[in-house]
Amino acid sequence: LLSFLPERSNLAGVRHILLVLSGKGGVGKSTISTELALSLRHSGKKVGILDVDLCGPSIPRMFRVQDSDVHQCDSGWVPVFVDQDKSISLMSIGFLLEKPDDAVVWRGPKKNALIKQFVADVAWGDLDFLIVDTPPGTSDEHISTVEALRPYKPLGAILVTTPQAVSVGDVRRELTFCKKTGLRVLGIVENMSGFVCPHCSECTNIFSKGGGEELAKHAGVPFLGCVPLDPQLSQSLEEGRDFIQEFPKSSAFPALARIAQQILDGTSQRSS
């Protein structure tokens, strides 16, 4: 019974919890979760990522630990450490699948049960930040995650969109979800915002431009910045590399670093 108390739980040592959401799929939630974790780590923070996308778990591969196993300890499940340093730890259904290509074909109740376990049973230890990466939408996973995290008072949510209207249209609904569930919006990120040709430096707005910034203005929430399309970033994620460490001159780096800085500034303001 004691483990139900927030102070005694597996999340007791986690200072800040933030969710990465989008109404829209494929806009870069897992990418932003990963790069934010790497950036925060480079600022000396200990970070965990909880991946609650049960049908399409992307996080393990983005850190090149997709073949790792999850072990149990006295207090619960041991998260997977990304390296010897142990400054980034992960939990995802990806680690629990015997065959990675097998579909997880579950209806809501089973998904909800696993999410509750993910929130209660992972022995994170002491973390500065726990980032929760989510699938697109406003359904079972989102409702269950927010409900399970409520006693731990999450910092809030970062919403990711791409610039075009079709994405922004879904992210507006996600903003409503945040309002209805009392989740503070830390800000909006406009991802895949422009592509600079590496050969001739011509900028093409492949997925349009400006929609995320406009939405932030319209909704009265902070705008965290535009992240351009960057083939080096895509490649880095494919190979599970540390983009922040290895490609500081790449086009997406400044924007990603700025997002992390705004999150850090936000938390230091709150504690002072």
Partner: protein
């Protein structure tokens, strides 16, 4: 140290469709046990009969799927609908079962439209005389309205879309889906088992982050015995309009869709390059095929649409032969 594995739906679960659903030994303790045992998931015989009746006049049904979000399912569904409806003699229906993120109304230029009821049920919203559309988007009064529903409620609406909409006689029913392998996907396959599905078109982008989810979708199709018409590799390369050099923005680090299709023995229907006009047309609600007829992406899409049509025609022909 104990290595933890989930006892997943893979080995132990009898399958939500099976007669043993909810009743097998492996079902003990599964959170879905009651749902499966009471048959709450699948249509009962009366419902199945009702669905069969409603969908009797649908000649071909095509599902557009992907394990991954944001790869271009809705974009392709919309263009497939336009492409098939170009033949005015054909009646085409586009059903959007993405309940949380309905993109189809915007892409078809139907934002703000509402659903009307008649004596024979809900009327689809018509883009052309021979192209009707249905989406939860038409049931929402504001673009900020969020549909924050758990699975069972989403399933209920999908069933209504099939039973209560007066589709009329349709040559092609295209069903656009959300990403994943969950309630919506199980439900649509179960409800449409009352009629038949010609097959699924699966969309991916070239990189492994997408492919790893798409392999799961292919696995899902195999589990529920849904034929796969083929795979489309979208966002396959970008040619700079200024210097004409190609960049692989979403790099095929593990061989792209081509390698995956070879390994899994499914057809690759085609590859579509990135074109900024595609997103613009979707945002404007116009058909990209009409707006940019000279684009290499248009040529790819047209060729793919033709292959899908040929697949359906052959399927029909095979069915007739059996009779």
């Amino acid at each position: 140290l104990l290595v933890l594995y989930l006892s997943l739906s893979v080995a132990d679960c009898p399958g939500t469709n099976s007669a043993q659903a909810g009743r097998a030994a492996a079902c003990q303790g599964c959170p879905n046990q009651r749902l499966c045992a009471t048959g709450g998931a699948a249509p009962d015989p009366a419902e199945a009969a009702e669905l069969r009746e409603r969908l009797r006049s649908v000649k071909h049904t095509i599902l557009v799927l992907s394990g991954k979000g944001g790869v271009g399912k809705s974009t392709f569904s919309a263009l497939l609908a336009h492409g098939l409806a170009a033949d005015e003699a054909k009646q085409v229906a586009l059903l959007d079962i993405d309940i949380c993120g309905p993109s189809i109304p915007k892409m078809m230029g139907l934002e703000g439209e509402q659903v009307h009821q008649s004596g024979s049920g809900w009327s689809p919203v018509y883009v052309e005389e021979n192209l009707g559309v249905m989406s939860v988007g038409f049931l929402l009064s504001s673009p900020d309205d969020a549909v924050i529903w758990r699975g069972p409620k989403k399933n209920g609406l999908i069933k209504q879309f099939l039973c209560d909409v007066d589709w009329g006689e349709i040559d092609y029913l295209i069903v656009d889906t959300p990403p994943g392998t969950s309630d919506e996907h199980l439900s649509i396959v179960q409800y449409l088992s009352a009629t038949h599905i010609d097959g699924a078109v699966i969309i991916t982008t070239p990189q492994e982050v997408s492919l790893q989810d798409v392999r799961k979708e292919i696995n899902f199709c195999q589990k529920v015995k849904l034929p796969i018409i083929g795979v489309i590799e979208n966002m396959s390369g970008f040619v700079c309009p200024k210097c004409k050099n190609e960049s692989q923005i979403f790099p095929p680090t593990t061989g792209g869709a081509e390698k995956m299709c070879q390994n899994l023995n499914v057809s690759l229907l085609g590859k579509v390059p990135l074109d900024p006009q595609i997103g613009k047309s979707c945002d404007k609600g116009e058909s990209f095929l009409s707006e940019a007829p000279e684009s290499p992406a248009t040529a790819s899409y047209r060729s793919i649409i033709q292959r899908v049509q040929e697949y359906c025609d052959q399927h029909h022909f095979n069915e007739e032969k059996i009779i």
